[in-house]
């Protein structure tokens, strides 16, 4: 692979892994948030949404501090032979935290938009919570799932602050497209910055168009 494509490749690799991991994590967090009767529900919801309100650079700084070999967590991970800071796996962890609300929030509103009777009807038909979740609830929030996946994906592609703090700027390891754009601009290489920007915006916009197109089809089929 030529050097030009490496940051693009890293960006998509990061976005795909983040989205897949977050999907499985997000579905269960969202189910919990949508249906829990815990009095601390507001607290959990606030926690999930912290990345929305914290500047990415601040979030990145905290993650860096927590995972640095000087901290307790970092030391512990070091003894297991895991080093996250300035490694690709660190980027994945950072992105998961950063994009969490983008995955969870659409799923939560999807679950909440379903009438309770749907879930209850499945129980009265002798189904377990597990069956109800996979056969009734999840299939009925497909548009929300699609929105959540695309939002997470696009959001991860555009990430800069968190990635820079945790990963730095190591070519072939942590130098993703957004950092490459910054790097090229600083070096006054506007042609390169422009190319990267064009690729990123084309991909992001196409994804958004696809979501709105497909969601409209869902709506027309009588399920929103």
């Amino acid at each position: 692979m030529s050097d030009f494509w490496v940051p693009i490749y890293l960006t998509f690799k990061l976005a795909i892994i983040t989205t897949i991991v977050l999907f499985f994590l997000g579905v269960f967090i969202a189910y919990f948030l949508a249906y829990t009767k815990s009095p601390f529900k507001f607290l959990y919801e606030a926690l999930v949404n912290v990345p929305l309100f914290l500047p990415p650079i601040v979030l990145g700084f905290y993650i860096l501090v927590i995972f640095s070999p000087a901290s307790f967590v970092g030391k512990f991970l070091d003894t297991l032979g895991i080093r996250l800071v300035f490694h690709f796996s660190g980027l994945v962890i950072g992105s998961i935290i950063y994009s969490l609300p983008f995955m969870v929030n659409p799923l939560v509103s999807g679950f909440r938009s379903l009438p309770n009777s749907l879930k209850e009807a499945a129980y009265t038909l002798g189904k377990t919570k597990f069956e109800t979740f996979f056969k009734v609830l999840l299939p009925n929030i497909k548009p929300s799932i699609l929105s959540a996946i695309v939002l997470t994906f696009v959001h991860t592609i555009g990430e800069f602050g968190v990635v820079l703090m945790i990963g730095g700027n190591i070519p072939g390891v942590t130098k993703v497209a957004s950092i490459a754009i910054f790097d090229a601009s600083m070096a006054l290489n506007y042609r390169l910055a422009n190319l990267y920007s064009l690729i990123i915006s084309t991909v992001s916009l196409s994804f958004l168009v696809i979501v709105f197109f497909v969601n409209k089809r869902f709506l027309l089929n009588g399920r929103s």
């Binding site: 009438p115 009777s117 009807a121 129980y123 009265t124 038909l125 002798g126 377990t128 009734v136 399920r223």
Partner: protein
């Protein structure tokens, strides 16, 4: 035989009920909205937890606060028809039935069940193309598919227009007999309750005000023709008055004395009794 004795503290009153339902009968819980009727069904279904009491169905204990038994909903052999039908839009008409069956892929049984409610030709269609009446019938047959011991119906016809309601009531009665199930229906519609049930519980503010056989509750003499309707207009005359009564989808005019006219108001439910010699009209009241 279903025995239910439950109490539960609700927002504005305490629910306190004691029901005894004979096997194979059609029993209605009748009362104004907000009387706790739906909660009773939800407690029996296990969708909500009572504070005290017990639920016993054919000698099987579903709930007992004393013995700390609380069978989860899925293990109670019930069919529940929700007010909004709660059909699964991600599945076809046929798959909705299949989902309810214990042994899967019994395509013949699905066909048979759909046939009973004239929906066989819609087997592979989406739920969204069904009409209100068809959705209601699908919800009903889906609830019956498991051959429940107890069929619970929560205002099953409230979303439908009157003429459709009347024909679906007949269908509901036939299916209940065919599946030989015990039915417990919640409704605030007098004519529906009178037509379908053989036993009625009248509930208000979480308490049972009155209960009895349908004939007793409505003061019906089986030797007469008995019709329940709603007063929609009153006209006072010089000597006698006149009322316009809506019965099903038709209207009738009845001459009545001025004294009687004064006791009726528009919206009242009335029982009209006709025998060989005369017709009488009286207000249906439950308190």
């Amino acid at each position: 035989m279903v025995e239910v004795k439950l109490s539960k503290k609700l927002f504005s009153f305490e629910l306190n009920i004691d029901l005894r339902i004979d096997k194979g009968s059609f029993v209605s819980i009748f009362g104004p909205s907000g009387a706790g009727k739906t909660t009773i069904l939800r407690l029996i279904a296990g969708l909500e937890k009572p504070d005290f009491g017990y639920i016993k169905v054919d000698n099987e204990i579903w709930y007992s606060s004393e013995d700390n038994i609380n069978l989860p909903t899925r293990l109670r052999k019930i069919g529940f028809v929700f007010q909004d039908y709660a059909l699964f839009e991600n599945m076809s008409v046929g798959k909705n039935i299949e989902f309810a069956l214990e042994s899967k892929s019994d395509s013949k049984l699905v066909d048979e069940l759909l046939e009973l409610v004239q929906l066989k030709e819609y087997k592979n269609q989406k739920i969204s193309i069904l009409s209100g009446g068809q959705k209601q019938r699908l919800a009903l047959i889906r609830a019956l598919a498991r051959k429940p011991k107890l069929l619970l119906l929560d205002e099953p016809m409230s979303a439908l227009d009157l003429s459709l309601r009347v024909s679906l009531q007949d269908e509901l009665l036939l299916l209940q007999k065919k599946f030989n199930t015990t039915a417990l229906m919640v409704s605030h519609e007098v004519s529906e309750v009178a037509k379908l049930s053989n036993y009625i519980y009248i509930v208000k503010d979480g308490k049972i005000l009155k209960h009895g056989k349908t004939q007793e509750i409505f003061g019906i003499d089986e030797n007469n023709v008995n019709i329940i309707g709603t007063v929609i207009e009153k006209k006072a005359g010089d000597i006698i008055g006149k009322v316009k009564v809506l019965i099903g989808v038709s209207l009738i005019y009845l001459p009545i004395s001025k004294e009687l006219l004064a006791t009726l108001s528009v919206g009242d439910k009335v029982l009209i009794t006709i025998n060989a010699f005369k017709s009488t009209i009286s207000k249906v009241s439950f308190e």
